[in-house]
């Protein structure tokens, strides 16, 4: 009961009859509908949170498939015209010996998004099942997912910058492929999924809901 006891030792704001503004952190009474300071809507628990998480997550996963199937970069030079997908680019970089860059791209484009999918799914499922263990760990996971999610956009930015800069007409041009848009959408969807997750739900598991 050690861990449970320690959790039970925590008093949630809801139990204390308080509600914190999600935006500015101002604490109100539970019956207060709107934040006095910033005017934000005060909700003690977002009952649709998990729905949103799942919806955004599924949208993100759907967008992630074309992002990997279709080419990310369309490179046309005088000599040839190449299309590189994410994985193809990683493999190419690896073959050329640029291990570091290959690793960065691989992590940013594959490991992080996939890890996010898994992490968010894990969080959502654990909340739904009412899991009572590792609440701290899961909270930390959530924090990490939310923090790191934006860095997945590094790929999209690289593509955007290259496309904008390398437009040397016939000599060399780089254009974003469909995958760039898909990947950006996928990242955005997963970020929204992470944001939609109401982390307070983690702590409600060992309590009788409402």
């Amino acid at each position: 009961m050690g861990s449970t006891g320690s959790i039970s030792g925590l008093t949630t704001a809801r139990e204390a009859g308080l509600i914190a503004c999600q935006r500015c952190g101002q604490v109100h009474r539970l019956d207060q509908p709107v934040c006095k300071r910033c005017g934000g809507v005060l909700v003690s628990r977002d009952v649709q949170s998990l729905q949103k998480v799942w919806a955004w997550l599924i949208a993100g996963i759907i967008a992630y498939f074309p992002a990997n199937i279709y080419p990310m970069l369309l490179t046309s030079t005088l000599v040839e015209r190449t299309e590189s997908t994410i994985i193809g680019g990683v493999v190419e970089l690896f073959e050329h010996g640029s291990w570091g860059i290959a690793l960065i791209v691989f992590v940013a484009s594959v490991v992080i998004p996939v890890g996010k999918f898994i992490a968010i799914m894990h969080l959502a499922i654990s909340v739904q099942k009412g899991a009572k263990d590792q609440q701290h760990g899961r909270h930390k996971t959530y924090e990490i997912v939310e923090f790191i999610g934006r860095w997945s956009m590094i790929d999209v930015f690289v593509v955007a910058i290259l496309s904008a800069l390398v437009q040397l007409d016939t000599i060399a041009t780089i254009n974003p492929g469909i995958a760039a848009i898909s990947f950006a959408l996928s990242v955005i969807f997963t970020m929204l999924a992470a944001q939609s997750f109401d982390s307070r739900l983690i702590w409600d598991a060992d309590r009788t809901p409402s």
Binding site: Q51, A55, I58, A63, L78, V79
Partner: protein, 697 residues
């Protein structure tokens, strides 16, 4: 809010009614739905748009890369190569490609594919863009959608004529393909209006067949009267116009080329697949206009056992002077085996049956049957001289009455063999040389020299003062004689006078004895004979009068003019001499002379000396002798004139007629004849009436 601290009845476990599922659903669910919808739609779109898979087999992949190489139709991308594989047994490379669905229905059995690579040729550089971008597969098909096909055999060479190029495709037949390369230009008045495709041997390997494509609208220039000829290479001619180098275009110089022109109007338009012969050069093509070039041809062979130098492909084949075909090939073949083996020259004749009266649709068998009938009746082939100057030969088919029996050999070799007979080849070089040598050998210069000498001596004789003085002295003598006769004493010496007259008579008799008349008659006869010879020569004139004319012109340029002039002049002088008043006055002068004689006699009578009379008679005798001498000179003149005529005749025999020289010579002869006539008349008069010399009448 539940108040846990309040007392009272146990709190009711009041739970809000669970909202229905759809009420609890968040709007956010639309996002994955839309994403899913878009994805599915994109996937379906992708699947339906991915194009039709076709298979093209090539001998080698030559730069085709899976996933990169495009298929282009009219330079528009219509597909992309998906994969490149080997066919079973590694015999071919199979290229699988997806082509646009809207194009796929047009890929029927006329679709052709080839690999476009950079090509540098004389005509220019093509496919340069593929140097950087890599090869692509070009496609060509027409705009009619027939039965769609999925498997194609790629062409190794670029297709020159795409299916929808407008124009006319024709077939050219040539005896040699050396001048023909795929892509070589077809020129019309020096402009490229088409090109040749890949030349191929005909099935029997006897000729080269090449398809050519004439682009619209120039294909309207093609008629049944159009002739094609080879313009490849260049021609160098060296002739009267100097050195002439001629070629059509640089491209045709290197790659060969074909030119065409409709040489006569009125032909019918042709359609695709029309067959034309390619002539060796433009002249041949032009000369063939009036023959039927596309008539069916039956090929037979002739084995000549002698050299056929001068016989070329295209040489005429004649039958009774009419061209009925041409030589289509010259080969050496071995006949017989072992020790009997010998190499004979096989001349292949392409006979056009329509040219010897057969129907256009007569089968080769019918033609050969007819030919073998002819052969059994004595038809033989032989070589005859075509052009006497160029030394070319033609093949002549002749019917010999006394030919040894022979048959048309239809079983040996690819062609039926027509038996041969002895050829009639005149060695034109020898003949011409002989003619020239004979002309060279003519002693024209010496002849003219001697003629001029003769004329000069004639002239000097005629203009010699002594000759001219003859009449005068005769006249004086006659005067004296007249005086003598008129004297009264003359009666006394009639006997003497009679003696003198007798003497004169004897002089005249001598003159006639000198056969003056006979000789003159001879001259006339010879002149006649000369005229006859000339007319004979006219009849027997050889056909090469033109050359002779040129020669005569050269002869004309020699001193003949002056010779003739001088001859004319001399004859005129003779005429003048003969027709001069002095000559005409000769009788009168004789009378005067007699008068003088008379006076002299009177003087004698006055002197009364018989010796004087005798002396006078002696001097009369001398005078008569002088006349005799003068008259004796006339035959000599006649002789020389006669020899002149004879020599002139010889000249004329060598020269023939039709030249101005001949005409003038004939007129000269006529003049001479007239002069001779005049002399003959004079002589005849003197002969008939010798007394007139005395009486002056």
């Amino acid at each position: 809010m539940t108040d846990k601290t309040s007392s009272g009845p146990a709190p009711m476990d009041v739970r809000p009614v669970k909202p229905k599922l759809w009420q609890r659903l968040s709007l956010v669910w639309f996002v994955p739905l839309i994403a899913l919808g878009i994805s599915l739609w994109a996937a379906w779109q992708n699947y339906s748009d991915r194009g039709t898979l076709i298979e093209i087999s090539f001998e080698d992949a030559s730069g085709i890369t899976a996933g990169e190489t495009m298929i282009k139709f009219r330079d528009v991308d219509i597909g992309q190569v998906e994969s490149v594989k080997f066919a079973d047994g590694l015999g071919d490379v199979l290229v699988y490609a997806r082509v646009d669905n809207n194009v796929a229905p047009y890929l029927d059995d006329d679709a052709q594919f080839w690999v476009v690579e950079p090509d540098v040729s004389v005509r220019g550089i093509s496919g340069l863009q593929t140097v950087l971008s890599g090869v692509y597969i070009g496609g060509s098909w027409d705009t009619d959608a027939d039965v769609q096909q999925y498997k194609f055999i790629g062409s190794e060479e670029p297709i020159l004529t795409t299916a929808n190029q407008r124009g006319t495709r024709i077939v050219l037949r040539a005896s040699s393909g050396s001048a023909l390369l795929a892509g070589a230009p077809v020129l019309h008045k020096g402009i490229q209006v088409g090109y040749l495709e890949e030349p191929q041997l005909s099935l029997d390997a006897t000729e080269v067949v090449v398809n050519a494509f004439i682009e619209a609208p120039y294909d309207r220039r093609l008629t049944t009267n159009t002739r094609f000829w080879d313009t490849s290479g260049f021609s160098v001619s060296f002739g009267a116009n100097g050195f002439l180098l001629d070629f059509n275009s640089i491209a045709s110089l290197i790659e060969g080329g074909i030119a065409f022109d409709s040489l006569v109007s009125g032909g019918d338009p042709v359609e695709d697949g029309a067959v034309y012969d390619v002539f060796y050069d433009e002249d041949t093509a032009r000369s063939s206009v009036f023959e039927d070039p596309v008539g069916a041809v039956v090929e037979v062979a002739v084995l000549f056992d002698q050299a056929v130098t001068g016989l070329t492909v295209g040489s005429a084949v004649r039958f009774q002077g009419i061209r009925i075909g041409q030589v289509s090939a010259l080969n050496a073949v071995v006949v017989g085996e072992g020790a009997d083996a010998q190499v004979v020259l096989q001349t292949v004749l392409a006979l056009e049956p329509t040219r010897f009266g057969m129907d256009e649709d007569a089968t080769p068998d019918e033609v050969l049957t007819l030919l073998s009938d002819f052969v059994s009746r004595g038809l033989r082939a032989r070589l005859v001289t075509g052009n006497i100057l160029a030394g070319t030969l033609v093949v002549e088919l002749v019917e010999l009455e006394d030919a040894l029996p022979a048959i048309l050999n239809r079983t040996s070799g690819p062609y039926p063999v027509i038996p041969t007979t002895e050829s009639v080849i005149s060695d034109v070089a020898a003949t011409a040389e002989g003619v020239l040598a004979r002309i060279n050998a003519l002693p024209i210069e010496e002849l003219m020299d001697s003629t001029i000498d003769l004329m000069t001596s004639l002239e000097s004789l005629a203009s010699d003062q002594a000759t001219r003085n003859i009449p005068t002295s005769v006249m004086t003598l006659v005067d004296e004689a007249r005086n003598l006769v008129a004297s009264e004493d003359l009666q006394a010496i009639p006997g003497d006078l009679r003696t003198a007259i007798n003497d004169l008579n004897s002089i005249l008799a001598e003159a006639s004895e000198a056969e003056l008349v006979t000789k003159l008659t001879d001259i006339i006869d010879k002149a006649d004979a000369a005229t006859e010879n000339i007319s004979l020569a006219t009849e027997n004139l050889p056909a090469i009068t033109t050359e002779i004319e040129a020669l005569a012109a050269k002869a004309n340029g020699l001193a003949v003019e002056s010779l003739v002039e001088e001859a004319t002049e001399t004859l005129a002088t003779i005429d003048t001499l003969l027709g001069s008043d002095e000559t005409a006055d000769l009788p009168r002068a004789l009378t005067g002379s007699l008068d003088e004689l008379r006076a002299f006699l009177a003087e004698v009578r006055e002197g009364g000396a018989i010796e004087n009379v005798n002396a006078a008679l002696e001097s009369a005798n001398e005078a008569a002798a002088a006349i005799e001498e003068a008259v004796a000179g006339l035959p000599e003149l006649s002789n020389r004139a006669s020899s002149l005529v004879a020599q002139t005749e010889a000249v004329l025999e060598s020269y023939g007629d039709r030249s101005r020289f001949s005409a003038e010579t004939i007129s000269t002869l006529r003049d001479i004849q007239a002069a001779a006539d005049a002399i003959a008349n004079l002589a005849r008069t003197i002969q008939r009436n010798p007394n007139s010399l005395l009486t002056g009448r």
